[in-house]
């Protein structure tokens, strides 16, 4: 079976952290790992700096905006975006998909609180009034702003992707799973390009401990296609078995980020591979559930 598998390469990376973001150097990782007292939010993040789609921006919840922004950075490195449309890179958008890792999005929002406050009668919640006030205070698209798969929808609409789409919500393992599934989707020939992306935001997060804000993205591509369009190959992925998360640098503030943690760890590992100066890949190794995961670089 393996003989017929397509070779899968990384052609784009995107990272957003409170310390900074950069499409190429990923230096923010090292700064972050070396100095873990991370501020929880990316203070100067403006979605409009990355996403020039006013209709989407109006309904894009912050976590999704971070995910999409990371994907924009990664796609830019892969040569898509700005003035280059996907169609210039690949003739068939149905063979280009999205694999997202996402934490549960908190439904605890200011507009919900306003609605509930106005729905109290004698200190008790009155559902009839709740129904009426909801029409005034809650955004009609509130539901959409809470669905984990909306990040994939936004990325799809930004780039015109029509292919396979997965949204993993498995917690820390989700990022690794999303990359793994994207890898196999290309390796087995079901797609030629997959955007992997993830993000976390602490806004009203219903998690017991603070979550560091972060976003990360990888563009995976069929090697033959990448070579044909002359885009630099950053690394080759070689999956040998089921993979989940790579080892996470414990000092990283995003190490416990339920959405983006393991995807960022893959990006960090990829950065290490690049430092060896050779074209190399990440080999996913089998691991038992719950054990530290094993990811290593191999020479391509």
């Amino acid at each position: 079976m393996r003989q017929s598998l397509q070779r899968v390469v990384v052609t784009g990376r995107g990272v957003l952290l409170p310390q900074g973001r950069t499409p190429v150097a990923l230096a923010a990782f090292r700064a972050q790992i070396a100095k873990p007292e991370t501020p929880p939010r990316i203070a100067d993040f403006r979605a409009a700096d990355y996403i020039s789609h006013p209709k989407l921006l109006r309904v894009m919840q912050r976590t999704f905006a971070l995910t999409a922004a990371a994907a924009v950075l990664a796609m830019r490195e892969a040569g898509v975006g700005d003035s280059t449309a996907l169609s210039a890179v690949h003739p068939n958008p149905a063979r280009c998909g999205v694999a997202v890792a996402m934490a549960d999005i908190s439904p605890l929002t200011p507009d919900l609180i306003e609605t509930l406050r106005e729905s109290l009668i004698g200190g008790e919640l009155n559902l009839e009034r709740f129904g009426e006030t909801a029409r005034h205070h809650l955004h009609p698209f509130r539901r959409l702003s809470l669905l984990a798969n909306m990040a994939a929808a936004h990325i799809s609409l930004l780039f015109g992707l029509q292919g396979p789409s997965f949204t993993l919500t498995s917690g820390l393992e989700a990022g690794g799973q999303s990359v793994h599934e994207a890898y196999w989707t290309i390796a087995e020939g079901a797609a030629d390009l997959m955007v992997c992306a993830a993000a976390d935001s602490p806004d009203y997060a219903l998690t017991p401990s603070p979550v560091a804000e972060a976003g990360g993205s990888l563009v995976l591509e069929n090697l033959i296609q990448a070579q044909a369009r002359g885009i630099p190959v950053l690394a080759e992925l070689r999956a040998v078995s089921h993979a989940v998360a790579p080892p996470v640098p414990e000092s990283a503030a995003w190490a416990k980020s339920p959405g983006s943690g393991s995807l960022l760890a893959i990006l960090a590992a990829l950065d290490d591979v690049g430092r060896d100066g050779a074209q190399a890949g990440l080999e996913f190794m089998h691991h038992a559930h719950g054990q530290p995961t094993d990811i290593r670089a191999v020479q391509s």
């Binding site: 999205v98 605890l108 929002t109 919900l112 559902l127 669905l147 992707l161 396979p164 789409s165 949204t167």
Partner: protein, 410 residues
Amino acid sequence: MKTVVITGLGVISPLGRGVPATTMALQSGHNGVRRIQQFERRGFPVQFAGEVTEAGIPNDGRRMAALAELALDEALENAGLNGASTPRCAFSWAVGKPGLDLQQLTEALRHLSPATGEVLREQLDQIAPALARQRQSEEPPALTARLADRVGAGGARYCSYTACASGNDALGLGKRLIERGVADVVIAGATDAQVHPLGLLEFDLLDALAQEDSEHACRPFDRQRTGFVVGEGAAALVLEDLEHARRRGARIWGRLAGYGSSLDCYGLTKCHPEGRGAALAMNTALADAGLDCSAIGYINAHGTGTVLNDRAEAAAIHRVWGGRARQVPVSSTKSMTGHLIGAASAVEAVLTLLALAEGFLPATLNYATFDPECDLAVVSGAARPARFRAAMSNGFGFGGQNSALVLTAV
């Protein structure tokens, strides 16, 4: 490539609990939509839903887990795996959107002065940890881990969510794990419980719900349709490598032969009007199964009962089947269950397998008026006997998420 078969089924839905009761309800055309009983609905804008009526299921944040546990326990027993050791067993589950405990939130608000802006933000940050602790065990990753532990799945554990396509995608991801040789058995399925005030209001705000207060409000493909009715439930399917299943002498319900996933890339709420993405998912599933569309003897449509979705799905079926679109029987079992949101397509996969195994076509309830924009061979009135070897089950979601399964007899 490994062949993936289904050796165990578990289901709980507005049609009842368990495979025998569900089969009977499906054959008799039972309507699971009724006036909401779970909360005081007087004056509330949504009055009808597809509720699970089984006694003893908690009516709070633990409901999704309880539904899942019932489905899983049945599926394991049905597969003959209860208590059996399955070393290479993985888990692929879709968990619906966890709700908020509005009573607890209201209680917290009583102790806070009304505020807006930054002060409100600070208040929310104060409230969040307490709510988080209460909700933590029902969060998708934690719930998935607990369910996987319950069934002894020691391999890969996938938790996913793709809106109303979630169930199909959880099954599709599970299928891929077996095909790659990562697991011999994958226990897959979905659970969702959105029949609570906030969940219902959110769908109401989207103007997606049926506009009539009636147990007959869900009218997929009917010209008078006005929207969907929310339902709840869970389904679990034991996916297994065919050789592994044969070695242990398992009963085989059918083969999970094909899976297709796609994106509409059209809008966040509206599906592509010509069914472009839906057709792509169906064609991908057929190609994955190695079948021509002419082999399909029944389509369990996504069929929500909204004007646009049903029209787009009909267009998609025409894109795939071309001049033969009117020859393939189509029904929407959501007319009986309501729309189970994240659990919908997993439950519908079970219902499709039951129809395949028992040899009948489920009916589309409440279908009375032909819509020329949904020019399909809709099975209406009552279920009817039919033998077929292959069926398709569709699941489409907000965000343009599309999925299709092809299920075949073995």
